[in-house]
Subunit: 234 residues, 2 copies
């Protein structure tokens, strides 16, 4: 039976972290809201486990929301999590730190909250983006580089010697930051050779490479998490 | 062997969600940084699973960071999670939604980011807090009331018929909001009888009641997540 993913059909957003895992595993899934005219109708309403917001995944009689919880559930089933509980917990801890990084990226263009357009909060966005570029981006990237350095299992992954969903998610964050903050990233990424190598390697994984070149991969745009506003990358 | 919790010794903050679980279970734990002069030294440095930020928990040879991941690990061990995988995933999904709510609460006093003091971002905080009070607080509280209503297992808990760490965390959020936004909460909570009942019931659990009355329970203050700035509650 197919997995069903429920997420906004016009942005990568948080759903993309789930899409990458499903695509890399070659899983049978339906991106339900894409072109189906069903946008906004989540199956969770009927299940007793409603999601506060998309993305939401249905896997048989399990309906789960929250990106990190979806990946916690899918990881072992897709072969994208370690076999042992300790490794799975560490992978999840990394994923939650990626969630924090993504939230702070989002806040650069929405410092006053999700209820206003970017154009209504531009001066505040300039201030928030400056701190993000100067302090928060290096702080997060330092941490990811450090744990990649500390993992001596070989292969260049975040956890152990095999790919996990956290690697795919870190790929997505780097890809998004390269889109949103190309100037800052050009200055920074030389400090992070292991992150850069992981980003390259994940993008070359055969199924993901095919996905990224397909029309299933939505383009980054200024409705998503990672937005390219040149003034925020100054 | 005792659990070791590593968290800032002067605020409830994110560590409090872990403290409540440990206290409710009557677990043997050490709040390492409190009065020990070891503030800032995390054990994770030596373990290969370093935390990006506190809180961090050591449980034997497991060292785990990220509040929700700590609770995912502790829940079953403390008898604060359902027995089945499906129930545990749902509990975790709720916890991650609580994390989102907490993050947005924090952003009311730090809309321009964590690197500046509140006094350096007051006009922006006024704007962000207005949206939080008007739109975000009801949206989150509506969701929690809805899932409490939907759970017909009896007992008034979020998941099934027994208490989980998510119930303790929702107690803490309500407690924090009552401290930070007393005016707004006075106007809102009449709409949320099930949340109010859960808050009362958790606060009366014998071990938690003793903890809350003890000097182990730090007072809310204006260095933590939940800050009472009357101008943000106007």
């Amino acid at each position: 039976m197919s997995y069903e993913l429920y997420y906004w059909p016009s942005i990568q957003g948080r759903g993309e972290f789930v899409r990458l895992a499903l695509e890399d595993a070659g899983a049978d899934y339906v991106d339900v809201w894409r072109g189906a005219g069903m946008e906004g109708s989540m199956p969770a309403i009927a299940t007793g486990t409603p999601s506060f917001a998309p993305p939401c995944l249905r896997d048989g009689d399990i309906v789960v929301g929250q990106t990190a919880a979806i990946l916690l559930h899918l990881g072992p089933k897709l072969g994208l999590a370690p076999d042992d509980d300790k490794g799975r917990l560490w992978t999840h801890q990394i994923q939650l730190t990626i969630s924090d990084f993504v939230n702070e990226t989002h806040d650069t263009h929405h410092p006053l909250g999700p209820g206003r357009y970017y154009d209504e909060q531009k001066p505040e966005a300039l201030a928030r983006a400056r701190e993000f570029r100067d302090a928060r981006m290096p702080k997060f990237l330092d941490w990811f580089e450090a744990i990649l350095t500390r993992n001596t299992a070989g292969g260049g992954y975040l956890v152990g010697a095999a790919v996990t969903y956290a690697d795919l998610s870190l790929f997505q964050v780097v890809d998004g930051l390269l889109y949103a903050f190309p100037t800052r990233m050009a200055g920074l990424m030389g400090n992070y050779p292991k992150i850069a190598a992981l980003h390259r390697a994940v993008g070359e994984r055969p199924r993901l490479k095919a996905y990224l070149a397909s029309d299933r991969r939505l383009a980054f745009n200024e409705d998503g998490l990672f937005r390219h506003y040149p003034e925020l990358d100054a």
